[in-house]
């Protein structure tokens, strides 16, 4: 009888459970999918570092398990309060709490299991999609793989069991504490008010705004001094302040806005503002804590998603910057003590590498070039903090013909340089100084010959050219005489795509040695693009995908809770909307009011997080400025983030609207 009753209840209340089920399914599909991917043989074979994806996903999953447990606990609480009268009736009829509890748990287990099984299959499909995307990143062919690895299934099942053990335990305790009277009259209860006095709340609101500003400032500051060990302290304080401020502002913002509206009769009594505002007022006072948590989750979502895009760009850009060509043999020769290798001659050893590459690869393009210097600082004097911006604090020259060949090897257009001209190119970090240089328009003298500035650019510059120099001066070929060699480099473009394995093979050839002070270091100065590609793409996959994973799950959690919240209102609002109808408000107007009410519910917890995420993304972008590509701009990344967020959030909004309308028309 008990299980029969439980099954029937599930069937009858399926309408209420639908959003809950969809979310459990989405969440677990994602958990399954990401676990499948992180354990997938194809993916693990992509690179040696991929192994880490597994651990990161497990770590991230642990956080997600907490959030989902909160969600399911919340939903169970909601279902419990919705059916409290029914439970009260059972108790009145003399059915013991034990039985009622068992029945409710059984219902939840049924729903949980069904969702879990469905999400298993959805997870396999989704996992394949994600794998395909990752394989695409690595330019590898992808075959659909429906074979199932046992480890991720066990792990996901473990998460499921943990979540349900926790929520069922909470639910049991809730039931045990309930008195029959509470059950029969629970519908009328809400969360406890936290602040009762209105006056204090406005002061508190301002206090929390100040805390928030302080938090954001500290966050920005922490990123500015990112190399300093005290950064973590700043960042920790900033996070703490922001969390307090998020909760505080959600508790007080509602009243602040409402006080504003209440004082202005024109706004207050325009159309249905009064109705919506009063409904909202009742809400924001009673469910402040939940709204605060939602705001926090939205903030995390936006920041994670934004980070995900920035990271993706940073790693892609990093490949281009560090390894612009298929293979580069570096540090071959240097006259300069202050170069990154120190004064040395490795030509003999380097020749082994060069010969090896010639023998084993089909070379499309190759160039041996030197970075030169006279240890002057005619241009470098404009670049302050040069120690931070590059390795060399003197002018480093590159012959125009070498520069043009390097550009051509990248597929870019060469420049034309007259005999009496020089040209400066640098990376994004010295962009400001390049402007100063072109404004100063200095004439420099090299080997006795005056040269005028042709121009400056950050386009097509590669850090890999000068193995760390953040700007280079391009000079006419015939002036590159009687100069010291900073470093000598050999760059190759091969017909075949290089891989991690090529790197390993070259490594077997042995090491250079170079001197740093009194001690000698062994160094392996060959850059193989395939190696950089795979390690950067691996890191990108790991970071971007885990961040995206977190953010998508968070959005679904937030969407579900808001939706449940709003729909539980719809039952209470039914009477009010009927009254509006009776007062002669048209159907169209009522729908508009409903939309306004839902919009208020959905929009409210996003306001502050959007502000925070815009500001922090500015700071984050500054942190990653040096490593992101020139086209990456913080405004676009945050807009894309908000866009994606809005789309997923919008789906919940629309679904809620239609269900709400149905509930009221019933």
């Amino acid at each position: 009888m008990l299980s029969k009753l439980a099954l029937r209840n599930v069937r009858r209340s399926i309408k209420d459970y639908v959003i809950y089920m969809v979310t459990v399914m989405m969440a677990f599909s994602l958990i399954f999918a990401f676990n499948f991917v992180s354990f997938s043989k194809d993916i693990l074979e992509l690179s040696e570092m991929m192994e880490n994806l597994k651990y990161i996903i497990i770590f991230v999953s642990c956080i997600i398990v907490f959030v989902i447990a909160w969600l399911i606990n919340y939903t169970m609480k909601f279902m419990f309060s919705k059916r409290s009268k029914e439970f009260g009736t059972y108790m009145l009829l003399g059915i013991e709490k034990k039985y009622i509890n068992r029945m409710f748990l059984l219902e939840n287990i049924i729903i949980g299991l069904v969702s879990f099984i469905i999400s298993f299959f959805v997870g396999i499909l989704l996992g394949n999609v994600i794998s395909a995307i990752v394989m695409q990143l690595f330019d590898m062919p992808y075959k659909i793989n429906l074979s199932i690895n046992l480890a991720p299934v066990l792990l996901s099942t473990l998460y499921f069991v943990l979540i349900y053990l926790f929520t069922l335990f909470r639910s049991s305790r809730r039931m045990k504490k309930m008195k029959i009277h509470d059950l029969l009259y629970l519908e009328k209860k809400n969360e406890e008010k936290i602040w009762k006095k209105r006056k204090n709340r406005n002061i508190l609101f301002i206090f929390f705004v100040i805390l928030g500003i302080l938090g954001l400032y500290l966050c920005d500051h922490a990123f500015v001094i990112s190399n300093n060990p005290s950064m973590l302290g700043y960042l920790g304080t900033s996070i703490l302040l922001l969390i307090i401020s998020i909760y505080g502002i959600t508790f007080t913002l509602g009243d602040f806005i409402l006080a504003f509206i209440n004082k202005r009769r024109k706004i207050k009594y325009r159309k249905d503002n009064l109705f919506v505002a009063k409904n909202f007022e009742a809400k924001s006072r009673t469910i402040g804590f939940t709204l605060g948590t939602l705001s926090l989750l939205i903030t995390l979502t936006l920041i994670c998603m934004n980070m995900s895009f920035v990271m993706k760009d940073a790693f892609e850009n990093n490949i281009e910057q560090q390894a612009p060509y298929d293979m580069m043999v570096e540090g071959i020769y240097s006259d300069v003590e202050e170069s990154w290798t120190g004064k040395q001659d490795n030509r003999q050893k380097a020749q082994e590498y060069i010969d090896y590459i010639h023998q084993n690869y089909n070379i499309v393009n190759e160039l041996q070039y030197q970075l030169l210097t006279t240890q002057d600082n005619q241009v470098a004097k404009h670049v302050k903090d040069i120690g931070n911006n590059g390795l060399y604090d003197y002018d480093v020259y590159l012959k125009a013909s070498d520069y043009n060949t390097l550009l051509e090897m990248l597929g870019a257009n060469p420049i034309e340089l007259e005999e009496d001209e020089y040209f400066v190119t640098g990376d994004k970090t010295v962009q400001g100084y390049l402007k100063e240089i072109s404004q100063a328009n200095d004439t420099i003298t090299i080997n006795g010959k005056p040269l005028s500035l042709k121009g400056t650019t950050i386009k097509n510059f590669r850090l890999g050219w000068g193995t760390g120099a953040s700007f280079l001066i391009i000079i006419p070929d015939n002036l590159a005489k009687n100069m010291q060699v900073v470093t000598e480099v050999y760059a190759f473009d091969t017909k075949e795509e290089t891989t991690e394995k090529d790197n390993a093979k070259l490594e077997e050839l042995g090491y250079y040695e170079f001197k740093d002070g009194d001690s000698y270091f062994a160094y392996f100065p060959v850059t193989v693009r395939g190696y950089y590609e795979s390690s950067n793409k691996t890191a990108m996959t790991i970071f971007s995908f885990s961040l995206l994973y977190v953010s998508i799950i968070f959005i679904t959690v937030v969407g579900t809770i808001l939706s449940i919240q709003t729909l539980s209102d719809s039952n209470k609002n039914k009477y009010q909307y009927k009254l509006l109808k009776k007062l002669g408000v048209e159907e169209k107007e009522i729908n508009k009011t409903i939309r306004k009410q839902i919009t208020a519910n959905f929009l409210f917890p996003t306001i502050y997080p959007i502000i925070i995420s815009i500001v922090t993304s500015y700071s984050i972008n500054r942190l990653f400025y040096a490593v992101t590509s020139a086209s990456m701009n913080y405004f676009t990344s945050i807009m894309i983030t908000i866009g994606i967020f809005t789309i997923i959030y919008g789906i919940y909004y629309i679904a809620t609207y239609f269900t709400f309308k149905n509930n009221i028309e019933d």
Binding site: L5, R11, G88, T89, L92, L93, G94, I95, K97, H181
Partner: protein, 255 residues
Amino acid sequence: MPKTLEIKNLKKYYGTKNNITKAVNDLSLEIEEGEFVAIMGASGSGKTTLLNCISTIDEVTSGHIYIDGKDITELKEQKLASFRRQNLGFIFQDFNLLDTLTISENIALASIINKEDVNKVDHKVKGIAEKLGINEILNKYPYAVSGGQKQRCACARALINKPKLILADEPTGALDSKSSRMLLETMDERNQKLTATILMVTHDSFSASFCKRVLFLKDGKIFNEIRRGEKTRKEFFNEILDVLTLLGGDVGNVK
């Protein structure tokens, strides 16, 4: 006659130290086996609170309630469930039927959970349904039957285990006058034939006039008490109206 219900110095207070509502204030009463008693009073007079205390929904502040000689204020929560199952029957204004169960399942629910023999329960359900005139709708769901039928179903549910005491909270509140009359006649008949003891809370004099005794509550205390004796229902009805006028409460509500 043995006493089915005995209340001694019952107090039920709500609120905080500075703002106490004395919903039931030092109330004592006795109901004998087979009595059909109505409790009347204005809203806020403590009727429902009193009923909630008797039905063990609410805990008392002080005092004792004896049902069939057993002090229910002393019972632990676990025992209360089985006590309710064996001794009490409930009828509510809004029926409190379970939408997920058919009418017959609703009636049988407590017995089935009680692990009684299924065939026996079936037999019992049919018997009681026939007496209450709802045997035609046994396999329907609550949302498919009328209010009067729902209330008779609730009535059947309350009666099926032959409880010592039936508690009815405004049972006719949501019914039209014809259904009300049918329900009250049924209750009256059950009371006389089965000697079921019924305690009914109502603010409707018409409903109260079916009872043998009417208690009037004011500010948590018994204000007056009248017995029907040999009077006709009509005479008794008029007498109730007189007391209500005296009470100065809900006279506007009388029919």
